[in-house]
């Protein structure tokens, strides 16, 4: 069983030439969002790369992230699970169920202790362990148990990266992110609802290629994919700068591809690679298809205001606040005004007439 070849070796065995390997490296470099100048370095690293064991844990999730992975085309999900990684536990895809599935997980943990990767999708409810269980085990327990021997943890999707939808106000189940629980292992956040498949595979490819985790930003996201905002890389940005905006869906501006800022696009606050990688084999992406960015790769994006409110519009019930303020202001203003009137009228009533004799009298006093 323990016949583990390097990726290069197994490609060679399939009859792949050096030229083919270079092409493979070119695609992988592009996938990892590295510049083409990195191709030789990637090739070099790949010659000794081995398939890591991956345990994928699904907690409070919707399977959208796993589905997203299934849309990966470069590498394909087949390529990924046959050539790049050994996906030893993944509810949506794995053949085994029940005890057998759990044994697969335990086996992988034992065999690859200290070396396997844990991928998590979904948040973890802390309010009650009964809010989410697998095989009778609470999510928290399963996470702790599985992460113990992991080399690194990849939190795939905004739920596992930042708490996501379950954590949205009022967070009924006390959901939390992976990184708020896992402190002693490197955690790579791959947010998005779901993340772009290429980004998931890109992060896995990076680990496979370099045996390390990519450079992360303050929110634990790989900078290569999350280093720039949607807005900065949006092909509609020139229209924003020219002041040309779609005012409603389906108007002339919408048809001409003008900026969607006014329709609530959260592109300016959203760090993700949608604008360049696009979705589903570069077929399109949300802004290209006429809908503003929801901001799905950002923490708490669910609570960041209506998806159709421009980013500059305050999110609270400001009309109500203003209403109360006007009422209070009028009342307090009247009170202050009447107090002033009182001050003044008492000053008037305390007025003692000044006469020229007073000057003399004062002089005498002095």
């Amino acid at each position: 069983m323990m016949n583990k070849k390097t990726l290069f070796e197994s490609l060679q065995q399939q009859g792949v030439t050096r030229r083919g390997f270079m092409k493979y490296c070119t695609a992988l470099t592009s996938l990892m969002a590295l510049p083409p100048s990195m191709i030789p370095i990637v090739a070099n690293a790949l010659e000794s790369a081995k398939r890591p064991s991956v345990i994928w844990l699904s907690f409070q999730e919707c399977t959208g992230c796993a589905e997203s992975l299934l849309r990966s085309h470069s590498p394909t999900v087949e390529g990924l699970i046959f050539d790049h990684i050994s996906l030893d536990y993944q509810h949506t895809l794995q053949a085994a169920a029940g005890d057998a599935a759990e044994h697969a997980r335990e086996q992988a943990m034992k065999e690859h202790y200290g070396k396997y990767l844990v991928v998590v999708d979904g948040s973890i409810p802390l309010a009650d362990p009964g809010y989410s269980t697998i095989a009778g085990i609470s999510n928290l327990d399963m996470l702790n148990e599985t992460v113990a021997g992991a080399a690194a943890v990849i939190a795939v999707g905004t739920c596992s990266a930042y708490g996501g939808l379950p954590m949205a106000d009022p967070n009924p189940t006390g959901a939390v992110s992976v990184s708020s629980l896992v402190k002693d292992k490197p955690v790579i956040n791959v947010p998005g609802c779901p993340p772009i498949p290429t980004v998931i595979t890109g992060v896995l490819a990076h680990y496979l290629t370099f045996g390390s985790i990519p450079e992360l930003d303050d929110l634990g996201r790989p900078k290569v994919f999350y280093g720039q905002s949607i807005h900065d890389r949006c092909y509609r940005r020139p229209f924003y700068d020219k002041g040309l905006f779609a005012e409603t869906f389906d108007d002339e501006g919408a048809k001409k591809g003008w900026c969607l800022y006014r329709l609530g696009c959260k592109g300016p606050m959203t760090y993700n690679a949608c604008a360049t990688l696009k979705w589903n084999q570069q077929t399109s992406w949300p802004v290209e298809s006429g809908h503003g960015c929801l901001g799905c790769s950002e923490p708490n994006f669910w609570d960041a205001g209506s998806f159709y409110k421009a980013l500059s519009i305050p999110d609270g019930d400001y009309a109500k606040a203003a209403g109360y303020a006007v009422a209070t202001g009028v009342a307090l203003g009247a009170a202050a005004g009447f107090a002033n009137q009182k001050t003044k009228s008492s000053a008037v009533s305390q007025h003692t007439k000044v006469t020229v004799d007073d000057f003399d009298m004062n002089k005498d006093k002095k």
């Binding site: 930042y162 930003d217 303050d218 929110l219 905002s229 807005h231 900065d232 924003y240 700068d241 020219k242 002041g243 905006f245 800022y261 006014r262 300016p268 606050m269 760090y271 950002e298 923490p299 708490n300 994006f301 609570d303 960041a304 205001g305 409110k309 421009a310 980013l311 500059s312 519009i313 305050p314 999110d315 609270g316 019930d317 400001y318 009309a319 606040a321 203003a322 109360y324 303020a325 006007v326 209070t328 202001g329 009028v330 307090l332 203003g333 009247a334 202050a336 005004g337 009447f338 002033n340 009137q341 003044k344």
Partner: protein, 223 residues
Amino acid sequence: MEMFSNANDFLIWVRGDAFNIALFILIIGIFIRVMEIFLLGRKKDFSEPRGTEWGPGLKNIVSRSVVDSGTFKRAPFIVIVGYIWHICFFIVLLFFVPHIELINAMLGLQWPGLPSQLVDAATVIAIVSLIAMLWHRLTHPVLKFLSTYEDYLVWFVTFLPLLTGYIAFHRMIDPYPLALGLHIFSVELLMVVFPFTKLMHAITLFIARWYTGAMMGRKGIES
């Protein structure tokens, strides 16, 4: 920063609760200040009027925006920079699309925005002119003499939104939610400070100009 686990949290707070609080204080403050003024009232004027009050009062509101040539000659810096600052500030405030969206959401009024390069240039000019005005205030004997801590506070809270706006627009602070959050927060600071400082001139100058214009109009003086 324990209150916020990340920049987005901060942005959500400044766009939500903080904005409401700031708006609340701003509106209440303005009402109090304006009512304090109006309820003090004016004595009835028994002198025989030579002209009316309303027309000249309203006219003065507009005409005071033009400085007399003598003053311009004596203090060209403050006049020119003052104009530039106010014009650029209003360009930025009223013609940057995100600001228009805010106004539209709050008041239901909308108008076309300007290209962001233009707004950006106006921001830079406004920032430079504010700095110049601070320098002027620190060096001109009269301004130095007149200035109180409030003048510097007001300068600061006015400068901050421009600076943070510029930073946010150019994404000079990462991540953007933090930059935008700081911008909005600085505006909220301005909103909170507004009713209790000379920033109120933005509202009361209309009242002041009207009173003076009306008083002069009554006497038949062109004001």
